[in-house]
């Protein structure tokens, strides 16, 4: 797969310029050449092997564990981690955060100095070099001298206040192909878990009148919470359809197969609650991991089935200018199964997840301190460059590859979030800033907030004009406002005093952005403003009760 030309800087291959493509001069769509992808247009449907015996499951589990071990961080599992007790693995985290904190301190400071005060050295240096070897200088009036960089500085807020009036809202243009709704929100609830989810069309797609490419689906069984989030490739005009079939299929498959599994294996929950060293724990995890992995394969099979329909449908051939191919349905794939457990009277959650492509899956223990509250599960495949990602495809659903992307863990977390990069990129770096995301959800009334409710205290919520038909303005609170920008450890300090932050919440300012948590989630998702953030956004939040008194 070719890489995008638009990459952040670092390690760019020298021939990257070659990948630039000149767009055909505007001509009838039918004349456009087909995409050069070599994906089989309609390969035979995937055969999904159902796991058959405990021993095979065990080896599957071991596989994903050993991968985890290699990846070696963040999440409490893996052959090595299994040896350690759950609480031991938690102890690792403080050190990491401390190190990361020091790293920020070391890096941020000089960077700030560089951009703020140092005028570019280039002109002078270059001029000296040049005069040494070029033809005699012709006398001519001096040009406008280079101004020192950023002698005047605009804050991101000033820029966004300006652009807020320029973003246009266009409804989705109907070209006869499958249209997705402007936004979607959903809540499912059981005594043991609640899942809220929302997706919204990004400002870019609103401005251009195009569809939202993100999709999510959630489900509950009697024992498990299930969430799947997919982001259709931005450059593929039909990728939203791939995202929809993938999310719907995987969530549906997980729901039925997990129901069946828990019905069949009466002692599965006790296996999952066993000591993390115990073989039965690994066996139990392996059964669920196999289903989660298979859900990705089911999703890809569903894409192939969908393609069979689309590739012979005139409307799609017309819209694309050629018959559809499998890569037109490309999307990322993030899926998680959460099994709430009670172990020796304490609540824990087993999380089994798979991530293909960018976005973020994380767990939060809302009662824990800043150093141990957050764990990222899975890695975005984007590596150094965000904006580069991987999709579900033939090559990455083979057992070895999908196994390497599967993660299993058990912890005291009560919040499990899955999101596309449209949200994750706004909370960079995730290993710190997902705490800020959680606080934003609390401040805006989406998740319950601890602490005493008093009158609103400054900083007040920020109001921007919404990019919507109504153009009304929506005020939202941003945890960012409460952060000391010069303190790299500020997010941890803020986290540790989160019970004192309720005075900054929308509620304290007597504001409410919706009648239900899921509506508030959607309104927040649709309206929070971040400079340079105009992608589609999707997020699901699984919330488990903290104790008997916690009503959800």
């Amino acid at each position: 797969m070719e890489k995008s030309d638009l990459k952040p800087t670092a390690d760019i291959p020298e021939d990257s310029a070659k990948t630039l493509v000149w767009q055909e001069r505007a001509e009838p769509a039918a004349n456009k050449s087909p995409a050069p992808e070599t994906d089989k247009p309609d390969g035979e449907p995937m055969k999904i092997k159902q796991p058959s015996g405990a021993s095979r499951l065990y080896s599957d589990a071991a596989k994903s564990f050993s991968t985890l071990n290699r990846a070696g961080e963040n999440f409490a599992a893996g052959a090595a981690a299994v040896k350690a007790a759950a609480e031991n693995t938690v102890k690792e985290l403080p050190k990491k955060i401390e190190r990361a904190g020091a790293a920020i301190a070391a890096r941020t400071k000089p960077k700030t100095d560089l951009t703020k005060s140092e005028p570019p050295k280039a002109p002078a240096a270059a001029k000296a070099e040049q005069s040494a070897k070029t033809a005699p200088e012709t006398k001519r009036p001096p040009e406008t001298p280079a101004k020192p960089a950023e002698e005047k500085h605009l804050s991101d807020r000033e820029v966004m206040e300006h652009t807020a009036s320029i973003w246009q809202y266009k409804s989705i243009a109907d070209d006869g192909t499958e249209q997705h709704s402007e936004y979607h929100e959903k809540r499912v609830k059981a005594p043991f878990a609640e899942i809220i989810g929302a997706r919204v069309r990004g400002k870019k797609h609103k401005h251009d009148g195009t569809n939202c490419d993100d999709y999510f689906e959630t489900a509950l069984t009697e024992d498990c919470a299930i969430s799947v989030v997919c982001d259709g490739a931005g450059s593929r005009t039909l990728s939203r359809i791939g995202a929809r079939v993938s999310a719907e299929t995987a969530a549906g498959y997980l729901k039925s197969s997990l129901t069946e599994l828990f019905g069949k294996e009466a002692d599965l929950k006790s296996k999952l609650s066993a000591d993390m060293n115990a073989p039965e724990f690994m066996e139990g995890c392996g059964m669920i991991a196999a289903l989660v992995r298979d859900s990705a394969r089911e999703a890809f099979a569903a894409q192939q089935n969908e393609l069979k329909k689309l590739s012979v449908d005139e409307k799609y051939t017309k819209a694309l200018g050629r018959p559809a191919v499998i890569s037109d349905l490309s999307c990322t794939f993030l899926a998680a199964v959460v099994v709430p457990l009670e172990i020796n009277g304490a609540r824990q959650a087993l999380t089994v997840s798979v991530q293909i492509g960018d976005g973020c899956i994380c767990t939060i223990d809302s009662r824990a301190g800043s150093e141990s509250c957050l764990r990222l599960i899975g890695e975005a495949d984007s590596g150094k460059f965000s904006g580069e990602t991987d999709f579900i495809s033939e090559k990455n659903i083979v057992p070895d590859v999908i196994g390497s992307k599967t993660r299993v863990g058990r912890s005291t977390a009560d919040i499990i979030m899955l999101m596309t990069d449209g949200v994750a990129d706004d909370y960079f770096p995730a290993q710190h800033m997902m705490k800020r995301l959680y606080l934003d959800l609390c401040l805006n009334g989406i998740l319950p907030m601890a602490g005493e409710l008093t009158a609103g205290e400054d900083p007040a919520p920020i109001r921007y004009r919404s990019v919507s038909m109504s153009q009304q303005s929506v005020a939202l609170q941003y945890a960012k406002q409460l952060l000391n920008p010069d303190d790299p450890n500020a997010i941890n300090a803020l986290w540790d005093k989160r019970e004192m932050l309720r005075c900054h919440s929308l509620e304290a300012f007597r504001m409410n952005i919706g009648d239900s948590p899921e509506e508030r989630l959607r309104v927040w998702l649709d309206n929070y403003n971040e400079r340079g953030s105009f992608d589609d956004r999707a997020i699901t939040v699984i919330r488990l009760p903290r104790d008997e008194k916690d009503d959800i």
Binding site: M1, S4, D5, L6, K7, P8, T9, A10, I12, E14, K18, L20, V21, W22, Q23, A100, K111, L114, T115, P120, P123, A126, E129, Q130, K133, T134, E137, T138, K139, R140, T144, K147, A149, K152, L154, D156, V159, H162, T163, I166, K203, K204, A233, G234, S235, R236, S327, S330, K384, S386, G387, E388, T389, G422, D425, P488, R531, G532, F534, D535
Partner: protein
């Protein structure tokens, strides 16, 4: 600590003696039109940063990488030779100093987009300039040769993306800058495009030839 990911855009403009008269007037107008066009595009406003590097007998950065909303177009004048090699070295230095790289804690900028406009053959050592830009991360360099004296073979050594425009009329210049503006808009729009695709630049203006 909370930097946005910028799209740095560098304009490398030939201000040698042969550009005097109508061409440089057109270039000055072209930059003005480019800025006013981009200021109407919210995606570009939130992400694109612009810098101007000029070259004649020597090369210099006239405008450092600047926020679009704060960008003031420079008034360019002409005279002297064509230090294209020097301009590429200045570009390499500017990219090194101004473009932020991604770290564990900070979002880096997008790879810079470079538009080069020249009407003649370089009078200095172009190979040194080419070496210099190879040492830094640049996304796309698009070179546009204008008029009969521009040498497409030389430009091909710098980049694969070479456009030739037949003459230096105000009309052609205006078209060129309109195309640059469209290209920046498309690029800032594709910022969150997934890989697997190259960024598609808009078709070049009528009368411009893509050098294969």
């Amino acid at each position: 600590m909370d930097y946005i990911r910028r799209l740095p855009v560098y304009l490398l403009l030939d201000c040698s003696g042969s550009m005097s008269g109508e061409p440089i007037v057109a270039v000055n107008q072209g930059i003005k039109a480019l800025i006013s066009e981009l200021k109407g595009d919210p995606k570009a406003l939130e992400t694109a940063y612009l810098s101007v590097i000029t070259f004649d007998s020597s090369a210099r950065q006239v405008t450092p990488l600047t926020e679009l909303m704060l960008f003031k177009e420079p008034q360019l004048s002409t005279g002297g030779a064509t230090a294209l090699g020097g301009a590429l070295k200045v570009l390499a230095d500017c990219v090194k100093n101004e473009v932020r790289t991604t770290t564990d804690t900070q979002k880096g900028d997008w790879k810079p987009l470079v538009f080069l406009l020249t009407d003649g053959a370089p009078t200095d050592n172009i190979d040194e300039g080419i070496e210099a830009i190879k040492s830094v991360s640049i996304g796309n360099v698009i070179a546009c040769g204008a008029g009969a004296n521009a040498n497409s073979n030389t430009l091909k050594k710098i980049t694969n993306n070479v456009l030739m425009m037949n003459n230096l009329t105000a009309g052609d210049m205006a078209q060129f800058f309109a195309w640059v503006s469209d290209s920046i808009k498309v690029s800032s729009n594709s910022i969150d495009a997934k890989p697997g695709e190259a960024v598609q630049l808009p078709p070049p203006p009528q009368g411009f030839v893509i050098v294969p």
